[in-house]
């Protein structure tokens, strides 16, 4: 978390924290396990009212931020969601809303953004092996598959990143378009839902194109950066909570007549965990600032953050499980909800290894 928040940001953070504590305590998260969407529509609408969906949307489109850098405000929401392992399609909705506000046509913006901003509507980002073939000057035919698509089965529209003969192109696809299927997938997280999207000869008009044909690479890179920044912030919130919980537990538990916290073997591990925790926060903050400022090294810092936080966060939580003892591997204890979230975050929107490869490309050039 950024240590130097403005008063507005601190208030926003506090409001979000209180809202989540009241409306989505961990008992509620557990109760949502078998709900197909993983979150209630009412909860998401209330979150949207607090500003969760508007930070990356320009003011003329109905959005607006607190600090002038919407992403730096939005990471506060992501952190609080991590702290509470809260549900909700924050990443896909943020990605689609920001891209539509930036590159969408007037029609796309007026049709889709209002619903995203109020939380009535969910949109998802589908990226994978999808081919867009031009239909003689009038739109495209989409074929292929994309998985995993976060909140794909809850979305009314998919922002599809596809390859065309002219290069990368993005299209906004209503899920009820003939030939589109979104099938829910299973997954580790109790409330975060992923789907696989299939496109069988899906016919789309030219008006479905977001941005320029062949020129979508920049938007796609920015989408990845936003997704990873939010994901890293969420993971940081999760490990913050786990670290505090573990430290308290070690003070309260006694073995051989001493608090567990008095054993040097455990103290030293907690010290390492604290170092990893602060390093995760430091690197997540640096990445968020670089993306917010659209700095030239934003891609590198984002990938460095993901490659670092992914494995270190899960290691920190696994160590917390060990420090808790047997209770740490029970369903009853909340640790596994956090472990699930951090593990899913580690391996979606690029694995740590894939992001390390992006860093290697900057240093050594492309592999082939």
């Amino acid at each position: 978390m950024e240590l130097d928040l403005t008063d507005d940001q601190a208030f926003f953070q506090e409001t979000t924290r209180k809202f989540l504590a009241a409306e989505c305590p961990i008992t509620t998260v557990r109760a949502l396990e078998h709900e197909p969407a993983g979150f209630s529509a009412d909860y998401w609408r209330q979150g949207a009212e607090l500003g969760w969906t508007s930070m990356l949307v320009a003011v003329p489109d109905g959005g607006g931020s607190l600090s002038g850098h919407g992403l730096l405000d939005l990471v506060l929401v992501a952190e609080e969601m991590g702290r509470a392992v809260a549900p909700g399609p924050l990443v896909p909705v943020s990605v689609v809303a920001s891209t539509l506000s930036r590159s969408g046509t007037a029609e796309q913006r007026s049709e889709i953004l209002p619903g995203l901003l109020t939380g009535e509507r969910v949109a998802a980002w589908a990226t994978g092996a999808v081919r867009a073939t031009a239909r003689g000057g009038d739109g495209f035919t989409l074929s292929g598959e994309a998985a995993p698509v976060e909140a794909g089965a809850q979305a009314s529209h998919l922002l599809v990143s596809a390859e065309s003969s002219d290069g990368p192109v993005q299209l906004l696809v209503p899920v009820d378009t003939p030939g589109v299927t979104c099938t829910p997938r299973g997954g580790l997280d109790l409330v975060r839902r992923f789907a696989e999207a299939r496109f069988d000869e899906v016919t789309l008009p030219a008006s479905a194109v977001v941005g320029s044909v062949g020129g979508a690479a920049e938007d796609i890179e920015r989408q990845l950066q936003i997704a990873v920044v939010l994901q890293c912030a969420e993971t940081c919130g999760a490990i913050d909570h786990i670290f505090e919980m573990t430290l308290e537990y070690l003070s309260d538990r006694y073995s051989f007549g001493r608090p567990l916290a008095s054993y040097q073997a455990l103290k030293h591990r907690v010290a390492d965990d604290k170092m990893w925790l602060e390093a995760c926060h430091g690197t997540a903050t640096a990445a968020a600032k670089a993306v917010a400022a659209q700095a030239s090294n934003a891609g590198e810092l984002v990938s460095a953050a993901k490659a670092w936080i992914g494995p270190h966060a899960t290691e920190l939580i696994q160590d917390a499980v060990q420090l808790h003892g047997g209770i740490g591997v029970t369903w009853e204890h909340d640790l596994h909800l956090y472990l699930r979230r951090a593990t899913v975050n580690r391996a979606t929107y690029g694995t740590p290894e894939e992001h390390a490869e992006r860093v290697a490309t900057r240093i050594l050039g492309a592999a082939s």
Partner: protein
């Protein structure tokens, strides 16, 4: 200086950029900035150049020869100084640790006498803390200083002082009272290193260098005016010195100038990449992961440094958070040197006679892997500090607590 008169950081940055371009030499390409014979004399001159140009001691008080500016000014200058050769080794320990401690605890006369001289490159300082009887238990020191009129008479021995043979002054912790528990009978002194009664011996390290020294004191008279802080309250001074040390070694000191020790490894990153290119292994996925990991560890270290520096400055973190930086730097070096060794492969352990190859250097560096994990407070001590003083976990049991020091049991000194 009132807030109104402070030069805006960006103005200062532009002025520094122009001045550096005119006055400082570029970073040596032959690795000469890494130390070695004669390097300290080069750095004394570089420091003098900074002083004469009005860019020395950015965060030091103006009345003692500094500029009295903010950490933001210092950071801007450091960023601008990256392409240039800088007096790096003066940062640690002279500027970042000992001059910083002098700012905190020195008398007005002591500061007037030493700080301008330090900022001109005329005085290099070292710390005389560790003793042959034990490294981590600093307060268990046996070197004694007995009051005799206007002087204290010092006897004993100190060890692991980096560069003492080439330096001028030391801050030396000695026992002045044996009838009280260990922390309460210590005093910190300013000691002129090269004088009758002090013998300095250099210690050869695993990489062949002669950086560390051991000193022997034989009835050395120390003027009472050279006591730093209060008599018998040297532990307070030593504790602050150690905070400065952790910040400086971790890269978070406001008193350093240019790239600081522990972060001087960008060139090592480059050498790993160069090695991989020369060996034609840039397409090997495993190699690419290792190169990225080494680089990411370094990047993250910089982010952690900024976070902890900011956290302490804002009062959001306690000062012992500096130990996070020291522990990170040390453990990151362990891993990065290990990566270097792995990438160097066989060429890192045997090479054509007299060849000075990158692989050889990485192989030799690996022998020194634990150096940073030991010096300046071992990783184990840092972990104690983090858990106890930053996180408030219970303190370790100490058999010498509240016992007059003359009654505390002591063991044998370390032997090679």
């Amino acid at each position: 200086m009132s807030a109104v008169e402070v030069e805006p950081v960006e103005d200062f940055r532009l002025r520094a950029r122009a001045w550096l371009r005119e006055n400082m030499p570029p970073v040596p390409t032959d690795g000469a900035d890494r130390g070695g014979t004669g390097r300290r004399d080069v750095e004394r001159v570089l420091q003098r150049t900074l002083f004469d140009g009005g860019f020395a001691g950015i965060c030091f008080p103006a009345e003692y020869g500094g500029l009295g500016l903010t950490v933001e000014h210092q950071r801007a200058f450091t960023e601008e100084s990256m392409p240039y050769d800088m007096p790096y080794s003066l940062n640690v320990p002279t500027l970042g640790i000992l001059a910083a401690t002098l700012v905190d605890f020195g008398t007005h006369e002591q500061k007037l006498r030493h700080l301008p001289a330090i900022l001109k490159g005329e005085e290099l300082w070292v710390q005389f803390l560790s003793e042959p009887s034990g490294g981590s238990d600093l307060a268990g020191c046996l070197t004694r200083a007995d009051r005799d009129g206007d002087v204290f008479i010092m006897n004993g021995s100190k060890i692991w002082s980096s560069g003492a043979a080439e330096s001028d002054y030391a801050m030396c912790l000695a026992r002045t009272n044996w009838d009280v528990p260990k922390h309460r009978g210590l005093t910190m002194f300013i000691v002129k290193i090269h004088q009758p009664g002090i013998q300095v011996e250099q210690i050869r390290q695993v990489d062949g260098s002669m950086e560390f020294c051991q000193e022997f004191f034989d009835d050395v008279p120390i003027p009472v005016a050279d006591v730093i802080g209060e008599v018998d309250d040297g532990w307070t001074v030593a504790t602050r010195l150690l905070v400065h040390e952790r910040n400086a070694v971790g890269g978070g000191s406001p008193y350093t100038s240019g790239r600081s020790h522990g972060h001087e490894s960008t060139s090592e990153d480059d050498s790993v990449a160069q090695l991989v290119r020369e060996a034609g292994r840039t397409a090997d996925p495993h190699v690419r992961q290792l190169v990225a990991e080494a680089h990411i560890r370094q990047l993250v270290g910089g982010h952690l440094m900024r976070r902890v520096t900011q956290g302490v400055a804002l009062g959001r973190m306690l000062p012992p958070a500096g130990s996070l930086l020291k522990l990170y730097s040390a453990t990151a070096v362990m891993r990065r040197y290990e990566i270097g060794l792995e990438l160097a492969g066989t060429d890192g352990v045997t090479w054509p006679a007299d060849a000075d190859t990158t692989a050889r250097r990485l192989g030799e560096l690996s022998l020194w892997r634990q150096g940073l994990s030991l010096g300046g407070g071992s990783n184990e001590i840092q972990r104690n500090i983090i858990s106890e003083r930053l996180l408030g976990m219970p303190r370790e049991f100490a058999a010498d607590r509240d016992v007059p020091y003359r009654d505390v049991r002591r063991g044998a000194p370390a032997k090679g």
